[in-house]
Symmetry: C2
Subunit: 293 residues, 2 copies
């Protein structure tokens, strides 16, 4: 990173390094937990054609500064495609983005690091899920992130369990955090053209900077930890169930809604593609097998 | 349509009616030609599980004015999904669009009619194709449209044949039409994040109003006629060939690029979804079976 932007704490070099190290740690822990499920799922006639898989890691450099490591598990027994990507990038915003990003008008340089997760299970009974946490530095600095669940067949107990995990993660940091961030999630993951939510929610937060970097960082760590803990448990509960061809088709159609959301509305996707991000890493979120019948 | 906008010829009531009638005629002719192919394809082990299908028509009304008729052929022997949609709509542009559409700043009311076609063949050896022609009226009036071809396996002879059809359609109207409109097509159907063109081109034109409505209408008719003539011939030439599973996967991946283009970049799609168009009709363009491996 260049010297001019927020190198003094908070959001200085030491904090950037700690955030980047943490995102790598999240990648490591989550990949390990998902690989464990690949090994422990029961074999039945619907998944026996697929071997348990592990994550393959590919590092990439970004033109203009920084890079990342994609960890992708493909064609597994539980997970048809799961991506757990980390990146640490820096550069300059194009004119188009300078008015849209806090602190970028004064100086277009930015630094950004994060971990981004999208999981597409093979079984239509195991929910799709997404988690992202990130730290951004311009002339300002902040955290953002969240996690959300997209079941094909919503199950109230499962939904509650997922929300509880994030409610618990939010509780120590502010009485209103969970309410605000779960509402933000519902608003964000909405497809106006379908008049549908993408899934059953979770939390979403952005531009989060209370003035106390340590606490904001710890909150962001706890959000990721909540996901690393709850999602594999949810997947484990459903992964041994058998499904029908009708359920599989419903899943492929639901995945189509996921694609529509990501390409039409998701700011992270559109922002990444338009600022020279790594296309393969960004579009790792797209499902492996989709139907628009 | 209300009385205040361009009701005097050109782009008045009589011209609107003639344009709308013509788009319905295009739908009728193209559907008939595609249905003919469904009946005449040779049966082999890759298509024998599928019966020849015909188009099903569904009419819809638009909140705010007008409506359309979707003609969709699903799960056929030659065509996995083909949509030939017509619509005649009117309404008012939201504030967001008034500066983007010629003539809408002065008065936000619009009238628009068109025919829009997307064809997804079952065989990866038969090219995907798209055609659209439309007439738009605000305080100004114009035509737009074009046709383009997206083969999974480009074939120079086939590409030339497709381009020749549009070159011939353009020739009587202006020496530079084909060159300008084929270049416009290449520029329009480009995926910057993939550094790929969507297909092998064709023509694309918009805001077309020379001051001579009759001639501009006839040009737009000839563009549609070129497509109705050339695409079924191209499909017929390849529809009896057998394909491999690898070719099928390549097709499903190519269809993913098609989805990326339509949802990230296509002005018609985004415009339609954001102006209260019929979601099912607009997203009829999305392929039936897609892979992002």
């Amino acid at each position: 990173m260049t010297d001019a932007i927020a190198d003094d704490a908070p959001y200085g070099e030491e904090h950037k390094q700690r955030a980047a190290d943490w995102f790598a740690e999240v990648q490591k822990r989550l990949c390990a937990r998902l690989e464990e499920l690949e090994q422990s799922v029961q074999v039945h006639e619907l998944n026996e054609a697929f071997e348990p898989q592990s994550f393959e890691r590919t590092s990439w450099d970004r033109d203009g500064g920084g890079g990342g490591t994609m960890a992708v598990l493909r064609n597994g027994r539980v997970f048809e495609k799961a991506g757990v990507n980390i990146s640490v990038v820096h550069g300059e915003f194009s004119e188009e983005f300078r008015d849209r990003v806090p602190g970028a008008r004064e100086d277009p340089r930015f630094w950004a690091a994060g971990v981004s997760v999208v999981i597409h299970p093979r079984s239509p009974l195991v929910p799709i899920s997404h988690m992202n946490t990130r730290m951004i530095v311009t002339t300002e600095g902040w955290f953002g992130g969240g996690g959300d669940l997209t079941p094909v067949y919503p199950d109230p107990e499962e939904t509650e369990r997922f929300h509880d995990a994030f409610r618990d993660a939010c509780a120590p940091y502010g009485d209103d955090y969970y309410d605000r961030f779960s509402k933000w999630c519902d608003e964000y993951f909405y497809l106006p053209h379908r008049k549908e939510t993408r899934g059953v929610g979770g939390i979403f937060y952005d531009n989060h900077a209370t003035g106390d970097w340590e606490t904001d960082f710890k909150f962001t760590q706890d959000v990721a930890l909540a996901f690393v803990s709850v999602y594999p448990d949810i997947a484990r509960d459903k992964m041994n169930l058998k499904w029908t061809p009708e359920q599989r088709l419903a899943q492929r159609v639901k995945r189509g809604r996921y694609v529509e959301f990501n390409l039409l509305y998701d700011r992270g996707t559109i922002f990444g593609l338009k600022t020279g991000g790594n296309t393969d890493a960004i579009l790792m979120s797209l499902p492996p097998d989709v139907a628009w019948p």
